[in-house]
Amino acid sequence: MATITAPARRAAPVTEVVPLWRRVPAGLLFVLPFLFFYVAFLLFPTVWALVLSFFNESLTGTRGEFVGLSNWTEMFGDALMWKAMGATLYFTLLSTPPLVLVGLVMALLTNRVMPLRWLWRPSYFAPFLLPVSVVALIWVWLFQPGFGLVNAALTALGLPELGWLSDPGVAMWSVVLTTLWWTAGFNFLLYLAALQAIPQDYHDAASIDGAGWWQRLWSITLPMLRRTTGLVIVLQLLASLRIFDQVYLLWTGSGGPGFAVRPVLEYVYDTSFTNFRFGYASAISTFFFVLIVTISAAQFRIFQSREERP
């Protein structure tokens, strides 16, 4: 009998001295602080938006009733939602090509050794560092009729003035112009970093073979920037789709002339914080989220392929 109890007694203290937290793997403990923020303020709200979209929820705090798919069916027939969706897609379509191209041109120009390069680079990037409210204040002032700088420039060139903030047909171009000025510097930076990663040997070798700057651009630089361009386009599409700030601030929340430029996120904002229809706003958010995820998936794949590269 003594031989049986002995191992049991020896084993007992081992399980006793190991407290619960010690049995959690150390690596998991390292992830936990971030996981708290991630679950509480990103994952949970994402799931809750889906849940709320089936309820008749309002801001007042009383739990809304379950309304099934009625928010969803209402949304698909909501002309204002489709108008906002159209404005968002139109803005994305108009803004992405110039934002990518201007960023690329800026980087190609200033990657070369040239006089006053220390001045050109910060000039391109500076607007990106401004808060959007500053950007909006400046551009509302620039877009004024008569004494606004943009219209003054048009007049000086002998062209008619445009109603940048008042004409529904022009308003979207105002947003594109403002956004181009504000954020092209970020794409410029991405391209510049990529250009600096191209080994100088490639250019030297091509120069010795007699290739000029133009030839090197087409046969070395641009092909080597293909991956970066893919990334810049996807990041830009995502940023453009999420437009809210500039439009909200340029027209102080009115959605522009005849709601011509009101994007989806501003419609979500109006629905939830002006009409207090949280459930309906959640349905629109979730629907819009699906659209964005499909594009994000492309970004994700580019990141992944980078990971797999040797």
Binding site: F30, V132, S133, L137, D209, V232, I302, F303
Partner: protein, 289 residues
């Protein structure tokens, strides 16, 4: 002997073409810079004009006299200093919390192994696809339920959840050589000590990159702080400045003075970190290289 003239000929031809391209490039670079600086120059120019000379037809760059009156009025009447303090509190808190939590998580995911790690990592990087603007409605309800609306916490906490930063730092740790850390482990150092005394000092460039970008994004973030806070004493610079257009009416010199002052902090900071910023992009892998 025939090999000597050939290479000499080729570069000379290239040289002339290159010089032409240099001139075209310089003119183009200067032209874009001029276009990009013009709005800023016009804003500063408006801010130093007497108020009754701002809106004139035709426009004029040179005022009858130079004055800082608009700046004095803005300092005396607006909450710009309060907003600056709020922006600093929020941005510094968010940046520090991101650096600590994301680097710890990145390190744990890169260097240790535990059951369910792959699944956990998958769930975290899937979050890169969730744009924070999409969750504002339920997030606002959550803050309401927690009683945090109109507090610093409401602005700070959600901005810490940036899974992309974990991804960037995990990738960086993956690329660090393991020898030093293994030597320390043999000597009996705990995981925390190895992380804090070996991995963190070695990853300073990646941490700088994450820190710089988190700082810029948080400092300029408008949408969420604008929803989370309505008390003017708690507003950050972007949120506070959004209220200015209506409160100043048509006093353009003062509006532009506020805009200039509101944009200044990051521009000044940029002068100090501008050398790091291109390197930072390379470190985050954002450029795809």
């Amino acid at each position: 002997m025939t090999t000597i003239p050939l290479p000499r000929q080729a570069p000379r031809r290239v040289h002339r073409a290159t010089r032409a391209w240099n001139t075209v490039g310089l003119v183009a670079a200067a032209l874009i810079a001029l276009l990009w600086l013009m709005p800023l120059l016009w804003a500063v120019d408006t801010a130093v004009k007497p108020e009754d000379e701002t809106a004139t037809i035709p426009i004029s760059w040179i005022p009858s006299h130079f004055t800082l009156e608009a700046f004095e009025k803005v300092f005396a009447q607006s909450d710009l200093i309060v907003w600056f303090v709020n922006s600093t509190v929020v941005t510094v808190s968010v940046t520090l919390l991101v650096l600590v939590t994301a680097s710890m998580a990145g390190y744990g995911l890169s260097r240790t192994d535990f059951r369910g790690k792959r699944l956990l990592y998958g769930v975290i990087i899937a979050g890169i696809m969730v744009p924070p603007q999409i969750v504002v409605v339920p997030l606002f309800r959550e803050m309401l339920a927690l009683g945090l609306v109109d507090t610093y916490w409401a602005m700070i906490l959600p901005q810490v959840a940036v899974p992309a930063m974990v991804f960037i730092l995990k990738k960086f740790f993956d690329g660090l050589p393991r020898e030093l850390e293994e030597a320390a482990r043999v000597d009996g150092a705990s995981l925390w000590r190895i992380y804090w005394q070996i991995a963190v000092p070695l990853s300073r460039p990646a941490l700088a990159a994450v820190g710089i970008f988190t700082f810029i994004i948080t400092w300029n973030n408008f949408f969420w702080p604008f929803l989370a806070v309505s008390n003017p004493d708690l507003m950050t610079i972007p949120v506070g400045l959004a209220t200015i257009q209506s409160s100043y009416g048509l006093r353009y010199a003062q509006i532009m003075a506020s805009a200039v002052l509101g944009g200044l902090p990051l521009l000044v900071a940029y002068v100090f970190f501008q050398r790091n910023i291109i390197r930072s992009v390379a470190h985050t892998g954002l450029s795809g290289t």
